[in-house]
C-alpha cells in the first residue's frame, strides 16, 4: 500500500513535514498534549501539530529540569532549546499535569516560538460550572489567536473544521475497530504511524488519505502476523514505534489502547449544531479521560474495563514514561480492575529510550506465555502464535 508508506514517512519525521507546510505560507502551531483545542487552530487557518519531544539528546534540558522529570517534558524542552522546532510559529500549553505546567513557565521564559498561550483548562470535568469555565477558556484562546495573528475565526470556518475533525476521528476509530476485529490487516507499528501522522498532516489532505486507506483496509485480507495474544496498551504518550514490533515478536498483538497517541486522543465526536465553542468544550468533557483530569474516582477504571471486555483483551501492558505522576497514581487501581476481570497485566516503565531489546522481549514473552490457554475471547484467534525471527 503506497498510501501506508506515506503515513510511515511523515510519522518518521514530522518536522520535515511541518517545514514544508510552513514553506507553503501557513503558520504552524505546536502542542504536547491531546487536550489542545486543535479545531480552533485549524479554523484560524493555522496548522496544528502535535509535538512529541523526541528525536535527539535531551541533555540540554538539565539546565532547567531535574532528572526526576518525565522524558516527554525533558525532550520537549530539549527540542526547543536545540533549535529543532524552528518551524513553529507558536505553541499552546493546555493545562494538564504538574510537570507540563512548569514546562510551560520554563518555555515562556526561555524559548521564543512566536505565539504562546496557556489554555488553563479545568481539572474537574464535571458539573455546569466547570463546563462554563471551559467554554470561557476556549473563547479566550480563540480571541488570543485572532489578535496575535490578526485574523477573524468565523463561525462557518469553525463548523467546517469541526466536521473535518469529526470525520478524521471517525475514520481512525473505524480503523481501530477493523484492527481489533481482524488484527492481521495491519501491523501495530503501521497503525502507530497512521495515528501519529494524523496529528501532523494537513487535516484536509489527511481526511482524504484516511478515507482511501480505510477503503483498502476494509477489503484487505489478514496476514499471518496477526495471530498474537490480544493485548491492550495503557499509558501516557507512546513515542516508541518499535514496541509494537517487539510485542508481535513476543507472541502478542495490540488490539486496543488507552494512549494519548491513540484512542484517548481521537475518541468522541463534536456536536455539529449549536455554538461551535460549546460543542468543542462538550467533547473535551466527554472524551476518554486522561488521568490528569477528574471525572469521578472510578470513571477511568470502568471505562477501561468495558473497553477490554468489548475488545476481547487477554492481557494489558501498562506502558508508562517514568516519573509520570497522573498515570502512576492510577496504576494500582487499574491493575486491580483488570485483575478482577481475570485479565493479567504487566508494567513497562520507560525513559526516553527503550530498555535493551532482549530484555523487553524476554519480559513480554514471559507475560504472553503466562496468559494461559486462549479463552473464548470474542475475537481471539484459534491457533498459537507463530513467532518470527
Amino acid at each position: 500500500m503506497d498510501i501506508l508508506n506515506e503515513f510511515i514517512e511523515v510519522a518518521a519525521d514530522p518536522g520535515a513535514y511541518a517545514r514544508r507546510i510552513r514553506a507553503s505560507g501557513r503558520s504552524v502551531i505546536g502542542y504536547y498534549c491531546s487536550y489542545a483545542p486543535e479545531e480552533i487552530i485549524h479554523a484560524a487557518g493555522l496548522h496544528p501539530i502535535r509535538l512529541f519531544g523526541t528525536g535527539g539528546d535531551s541533555g540540554i534540558a538539565d539546565r532547567h529540569l531535574q532528572a526526576y522529570c518525565c522524558s516527554l517534558v525533558r525532550g520537549a524542552l530539549a527540542e526547543s532549546l536545540t533549535g529543532r522546532l524552528d518551524y513553529l510559529d507558536g505553541t499552546v500549553f493546555p493545562h494538564t499535569c504538574d510537570s507540563i505546567q512548569r514546562l510551560s513557565d520554563i518555555w515562556r521564559l526561555n524559548t521564543s516560538h512566536g505565539f504562546f498561550a496557556d489554555v488553563v483548562l479545568p481539572v474537574k470535568l464535571t458539573g455546569e460550572n466547570a463546563r462554563k469555565y471551559l467554554i470561557d477558556v476556549l473563547q479566550r484562546f480563540k480571541r488570543d489567536l485572532e489578535s496575535y495573528f490578526d485574523l477573524v475565526i468565523t463561525e462557518e470556518s469553525m463548523r467546517s473544521s469541526i466536521r473535518t475533525f469529526n470525520t478524521i476521528r471517525s475514520y481512525l476509530s473505524e480503523i481501530y475497530e477493523l484492527k481489533s476485529r481482524n488484527p492481521g490487516i495491519i501491523s501495530g507499528q503501521e497503525l502507530f504511524s497512521i495515528v501519529r501522522t494524523s496529528m501532523v498532516m494537513d487535516r484536509d489532505v489527511l481526511r482524504d488519505k484516511l478515507q482511501t486507506l480505510l477503503q483498502e483496509l476494509r477489503e484487505s485480507v489478514p496476514g499471518r502476523e496477526g495471530r498474537g495474544r490480544r493485548l491492550m496498551l495503557v499509558g501516557n504518550a507512546c513515542n516508541h514505534p518499535d514496541i509494537y514490533e517487539l510485542i508481535e515478536r513476543s507472541g502478542g498483538q495490540v488490539v486496543w489502547d488507552d494512549l494519548c497517541t491513540g484512542t484517548r486522543w481521537f475518541s468522541g465526536a463534536i456536536r455539529e449544531e449549536g455554538d461551535p465553542i460549546a460543542a468543542i468544550a462538550d467533547r473535551l468533557f466527554e472524551r476518554q479521560v486522561c488521568p490528569s483530569k477528574h471525572k469521578s474516582p472510578t470513571a477511568r477504571g470502568e471505562l477501561l474495563a468495558s473497553q477490554a471486555r468489548k475488545h476481547g483483551v487477554e492481557g494489558v501492558i501498562f506502558l508508562y514514561l517514568k516519573f509520570c505522576d497522573p498515570h502512576s497514581f492510577d496504576y494500582p487501581y487499574l491493575k486491580e480492575c483488570f485483575k478482577d476481570m481475570g485479565i493479567p497485566s504487566m508494567l513497562l516503565e520507560i525513559e526516553d529510550s527503550l530498555p535493551p531489546e532482549g530484555q523487553i522481549l524476554t519480559r513480554i514473552e514471559t507475560f504472553t506465555q503466562m496468559l494461559g490457554p486462549k479463552t473464548g475471547a470474542v475475537h481471539a484467534e484459534t491457533s498459537q502464535t507463530g513467532r518470527e525471527g
Partner: protein, 416 residues
C-alpha cells in the same frame, strides 16, 4: 550531655503549648465518632473555613505526612505503598498516607476515617489523584475545589469559576452534613482565619531581626497550627503568645543560632526526617536559615482577602497561593524575601516528592543569581522517604556552599 544555659534559653517555651494543642486536636479528631462530629480530610492549601463553620473536624493528611516523616516512619510506609504498586517517584506524603490508610499504621495509630474528602488542587495535581485513591478506599463523597493555575495572572473567567465553586462547596457540605450553612458564623470564622494569618506573618517577620530569634526549622514546627486550625481562636491565641515570645527573644537578644553570622533562605518543603541534622549542620557554620518560601505560603495571599467579604474574597486568595503561580511570579516573592530578611544565600531543596515546587528551581536560581547576586545551592531529597537521603553527600554540598558564603563575608548581602 547536659544543655548549656544558652541552649536552654534558645528553646521555645511555646513549643510545649503547641504540642498540647496538637494533641487535643488529634484526640478530638480521633474521637469524632463518639461525639457525633463529622471528619473531613482536606488538602493543606484547601479552603477550610466552611468546614469550621459547619462544625466539621478538618484533618490534614499532609500534616500527618510531616509527622510520619519527622518520626522516621516514611521509608517503611513508602515501601508498603510501593508493594501495592505505587511508584517510588510519587509524592512521599501521598505514598505514606495511602499505606497508612490501608493498615492503620503510622503515628497516633492512623488518622480518623473521613466522612468526606475535600481536595483543592491549588498546590498540585498529585492531591487530586491521591484523594481519588482515598475516595475509592473509604467510599465517601469527594469534593474537588478546582483552582485554575495562574501562570501570569488570574483571569476573569477563572475568578468566576472559583467563585461559583464556593457555592458548590457550600451546598456539598449542606448535603453531607444535612444542615444549613450559617453565613453569620462564616463572617466570624473568616475574621479569625485572617487574624491567624496576620499573626503568622508577624511571627515569621520576627526573623528579619539580626540576630534572628527563630529559624525556618522552628517555622516548620510552628506551622502546624495555621495549617490545621485556621479559622479558630486557638490559632489566634497561640500565635499571639508565640509572637510575644518572639518579641521577648528579640529584646533579650536571644538568637536561634549561636553567633549568627550568615542568614539563609530555604526554598521548598522541609526534609522532615533531617530537620535537626540540617539545622545543626548550618548552625555549625554560624548560618541561620531565617526564612523559607514554604511556611510563608499560608499567609502569602492575605492581600486578596476582604475581611468584610471573606467568602467571596477567599476564592481569589485560595487560587493565588504561592504554588499556584508561574515561576516568574514565584521569583518576585523570593526577591522580596531576600531583601526583607537580608539573606546571604539561598538553599533550594530539590524535592523529588514535589514536582510543582521543584521544577523551575534552576530557573529561579539563575534569576536570583542575576538579580540579587547571592550564592545558591541545591539539595536533593524525597521529603518524607528517608531511604535515599545521603548525609555525606548533603554535607559535602553544604560545606562547599558555606565556603563560598564565608568568602563573601557576612552581610555581603545582595550588593552587586
Amino acid at each position: 550531655m547536659s544543655q548549656t544555659d544558652a541552649e536552654k534559653k534558645r528553646k521555645f517555651r511555646s513549643a510545649k503549648r503547641m504540642r498540647e494543642i496538637m494533641t487535643e486536636y488529634y484526640i478530638e479528631a480521633k474521637t469524632a465518632d463518639q461525639t457525633g462530629k463529622k471528619v473531613a480530610w482536606i488538602t493543606s492549601g484547601g479552603p477550610v473555613e466552611p468546614l469550621i463553620v459547619m462544625d466539621v473536624i478538618p484533618v490534614y493528611p499532609e500534616n500527618y505526612g510531616a509527622m510520619i516523616g519527622a518520626s522516621h516512619m516514611g521509608g517503611d510506609l513508602c515501601a508498603k505503598a510501593e508493594a501495592l504498586g505505587y511508584s517510588t517517584d510519587l509524592c512521599s506524603y501521598a505514598r505514606a498516607d495511602i499505606a497508612c490508610a490501608l493498615e492503620n499504621g503510622g503515628p497516633i495509630g492512623g488518622l480518623p476515617k473521613p466522612d468526606m474528602l475535600i481536595c483543592c488542587n491549588n498546590i498540585c495535581g498529585t492531591v487530586m489523584k491521591w484523594y481519588e485513591v482515598q475516595a475509592r478506599l473509604f467510599n465517601v463523597p469527594l469534593f474537588i475545589f478546582d483552582t485554575p493555575f495562574c501562570h501570569v495572572d488570574f483571569a476573569d473567567e477563572a475568578r468566576r469559576y472559583v467563585r461559583a465553586q464556593i457555592d458548590e462547596y457550600i451546598s456539598f457540605l449542606e448535603g453531607v452534613c444535612k444542615k444549613k450553612f450559617d453565613f453569620d458564623r462564616s463572617m466570624e470564622v473568616g475574621r479569625l482565619s485572617l487574624k491567624g494569618q496576620q499573626l503568622w506573618q508577624e511571627v515569621l517577620d520576627a526573623a528579619a531581626h539580626r540576630p534572628s530569634p527563630m529559624t525556618a526549622f522552628d517555622a516548620f514546627f510552628f506551622l502546624a497550627l495555621i495549617v490545621t486550625l485556621r479559622g479558630t481562636d486557638k490559632v489566634v491565641n497561640f500565635y499571639t503568645e508565640l509572637l510575644e515570645e518572639m518579641k521577648e527573644r528579640v529584646s533579650q537578644g536571644i538568637s536561634a543560632v549561636e553567633n549568627e553570622r550568615y542568614r539563609l533562605l530555604w526554598d521548598n518543603l522541609p526534609v522532615w526526617y533531617r530537620l535537626k541534622w540540617l539545622s545543626d549542620t548550618f548552625a555549625s557554620h554560624g548560618a541561620c536559615l531565617v526564612a523559607d518560601t514554604y511556611t510563608t505560603a499560608w499567609c502569602g495571599s492575605m492581600k486578596y482577602i476582604d475581611e468584610n467579604d471573606f467568602i467571596d474574597s477567599m476564592a481569589e486568595a485560595y487560587t493565588r497561593i504561592y504554588l499556584n503561580i508561574g515561576v516568574d511570579e514565584m521569583a518576585k516573592t523570593i526577591f522580596e524575601m531576600i531583601d526583607k530578611y537580608e539573606v546571604d544565600g539561598l538553599v533550594m531543596h530539590s524535592n523529588r516528592s514535589c514536582k510543582p515546587y521543584s521544577f523551575g528551581q534552576y530557573d529561579l536560581m539563575r534569576m536570583v543569581q542575576e538579580k540579587k547576586g547571592i550564592p545558591c545551592m541545591m539539595l536533593e531529597s524525597h521529603m518524607v522517604d528517608e531511604r535515599s537521603f545521603s548525609e555525606s553527600q548533603a554535607l559535602t554540598r553544604i560545606d562547599a556552599f558555606m565556603e563560598v558564603i564565608r568568602k563573601r563575608g557576612p552581610g555581603a548581602g545582595t550588593a552587586r
